[in-house]
Amino acid sequence: MAAWLQLRGVARRFGAIAALRGIDLALAADEMLVVLGPTGAGKTTLLRTIAGLETPDAGCIEMAGEDVTHQPPAARDVAFVFQNFALYPDWSVRRNLEFPLLAPGRNMPRDEIEQRVGWAAGLLRIEGHLDRPAAQLSGGEMQRVAIGRAIVRRPRLFLLDEPLTNLDAKLREALRVELALLRRDLGIPMIYVTHDQTEALSMGDRVAVLDAGRILQEGAPEEIYRRPASPLVARQLGQPAINILEVERVGDEWVGTTGVGLLAAVAGDGKKTLGIRPEDIAPDGGQVPGVVRVVEDAGAVWILLVDWAGTAIRIMTPKRRGFAPGEEIYPRVNPQRAVFWPREEENR
């Protein structure tokens, strides 16, 4: 896979704060990379640096084999969609969409402008709103126009900075699906930045987990979710969050802090940190008893909070039967889904 975009050792510092600490990233020409991280991880700085709105203190950026590290934003031909829509409220949708094509020096013929606006409006299903002022649109429609304004230019690279964050949950869900479908039709490489793990898992060909200016792990969504490199990465994905238990190998078992065997050991030795996702613990069939504390109805599934082996764990289970607080159950960990890490030196 030849990389279309390549970042090598990109660093950016703001005073005492190191926003990016040596980022290496590659993006193929037809790929969508999702950068997942909490507020303050450096996500926006990373996008701004790729767009040319920030100059890195160190490292270089290549696009299509050309070093663009010191090129101005306009020369990079990159489109940026922000969290707040930033449309011209009094202008019609059509005029908002045309605007990027009317830039001096483009000299685009009128019929091509119309053709492109029609194409973008069709893809985003806003044809019916072309003559309405932007201010009259709903939040979801405005964000579609903002995306439309970015795609009419047919940029070489598409950068999206939490474009769905300011929308209602229900609308976010609908637009997430639309964006995923749209991107297949566009065939433009994309970097999508978010703190929403659902968006990261469902939209990315690849996910890069960013924290404190560093990439902690990068890979296919399934890989990041199933084989997180550290508890820090594991906790960024999954809802409810992964269960993390301290275990030690004793004989042919992994034993918890209260000295009871929690699951059979296949490999590994000594003290480890065990990660097991809530859907990978069955409520029945195990050896060690637990007590259900809270039963949460999550619609399609139950989420149980269970006191088990001296700790509180969460179990996500299909609604095949009911559970009651106080009930004794025998949780069973799926050993194939367990993840082991070297014991963390807890410093928080």
Binding site: P38, K170, E173, L181, H195, Q239
Partner: protein, 348 residues
């Protein structure tokens, strides 16, 4: 017995906008009720009327048997939380949390007791002497929550308090709010647009749309037996699938689909509803559909499909991939089919 009672509560703004159209709403002692709906549904206006921040155009509000409709906010003894504010930088954790109690004129001894109690429950005991700048982001939020919930008003009113937080912190804070509320036994009305948040927190979910209450009941009831198409679509992630068709000779008939029904459903035009977890891929299923998008979500997948009768979503197991463009057969779990009147939207 209901502790808060709103009767025929109505709010029409000066510009003629009817934000709340005469609703009846009650909340029992110690009950956690969630007002859920999209932007503009009237949920926040309702909450603000209960708080005394908006004056109702018509209707009455009683709290603990006392009519408070005309009372100033300060005379109502309500705790209004609209976000977990920034902390006072010059006060340490203990002083920040004790601030609302000190403003009430409580004795220092009592303040110390109350602060000590909540600090212990939220695991902040080791941090009481620290200043906000010395705290990690998550701890700052926990302190802010303690400060918001240290007072014991007659009722807590919360307006999307977690809206601005990152996803992982939001989940943790949600659990802390619920634990605090259960422990204090204080009636709470909580406003959100996030159905998942509503389902997980609420004793009772009140679904609002267009200034009216659409449904009011326990989470499981709203999920399993939605009263109409709006609720059925709004609750659930993604919402319920709908297929328009007709009932004839004990069968449901739609383009490309014929289903023999177990029970009696009235003949004529009808909308068939089924949740994504009750759609199954079966080789010889009665409906043929093409895979449009496979969304990986970690614990499961949402498979977006297109059939002759419209678009559908199926919730599938995480390990089974569905290739875009392939054709699958679909079947529906017979015990979980719902029917709606296509004109009124009401469930039959």
């Amino acid at each position: 017995m209901s502790f808060l009672v709103c009767r025929q509560l109505q709010k029409t703004y000066d510009d003629g906008t009817e934000a709340v159209k005469g609703i009846d709403l009650a909340c029992g002692e110690g009950e956690f009720a969630v007002l859920l709906g999209p932007s503009g549904c009237g949920k926040t206006t309702t909450l603000r009327m209960v708080a005394g921040l908006e004056k109702p155009t018509r209707g009455h509000i009683a709290l603990g048997g006392r009519d408070i409709t005309g009372l100033a906010p300060s005379a109502r003894d309500v705790g209004f939380v609209f976000q977990f504010y920034a902390l006072y930088p010059h006060l340490n954790v203990e002083e920040n949390i004790g601030f609302p109690l000190a403003s009430m004129g409580l004795a220092p001894r009592e303040i110390a007791d109350r602060v000590g109690e909540i600090v212990a429950r939220l695991g902040l005991t080791g941090l009481v002497g620290r200043y906000p700048r010395q705290l990690a982001g998550g701890d700052q939020q926990r302190v802010a929550l303690a400060r918001a919930m240290v007072r014991r008003p007659q009722i807590w009113l919360m307006d999307e308090p977690l809206g601005t937080l990152d996803a992982d912190l939001r989940l943790e804070m949600r659990e802390l709010i619920r634990a605090q509320q259960l422990d204090a036994g204080i009636a709470t009305i909580y406003v959100t647009h996030d159905q998942e948040e509503a389902m997980s927190l609420a004793d009772r979910v009140v679904v609002m749309e267009g200034g009216e209450i659409r449904q009011n009941g326990p989470a499981a009831e709203v999920y399993d037996r939605p009263v109409d198409l709006f609720v059925a679509h709004f609750i659930g992630s993604p919402g319920m699938n709908f297929i328009d068709g007709e009932i004839a000779d004990g069968r449901f008939v739609a383009p490309g689909l014929e289903l023999v029904l177990d029970g009696q459903v009235r003949p004529g035009p009808i909308t068939f509803g089924v949740r994504p977890e009750f759609v199954r891929a079966v080789v010889d299923g009665p409906l043929r559909a093409t895979v449009k998008l496979d969304e990986y979500l970690g614990a499961s997948r949402n498979i977006h499909l297109e059939a002759e009768c419209g678009r559908l979503v199926m919730r599938a197991e995480d390990e089974r991939r569905f290739e875009v463009g392939t054709e699958v057969g679909l079947d529906f779990a017979p015990a979980h089919l719902l029917f709606f009147d296509p004109v009124s939207g009401a469930r039959l």
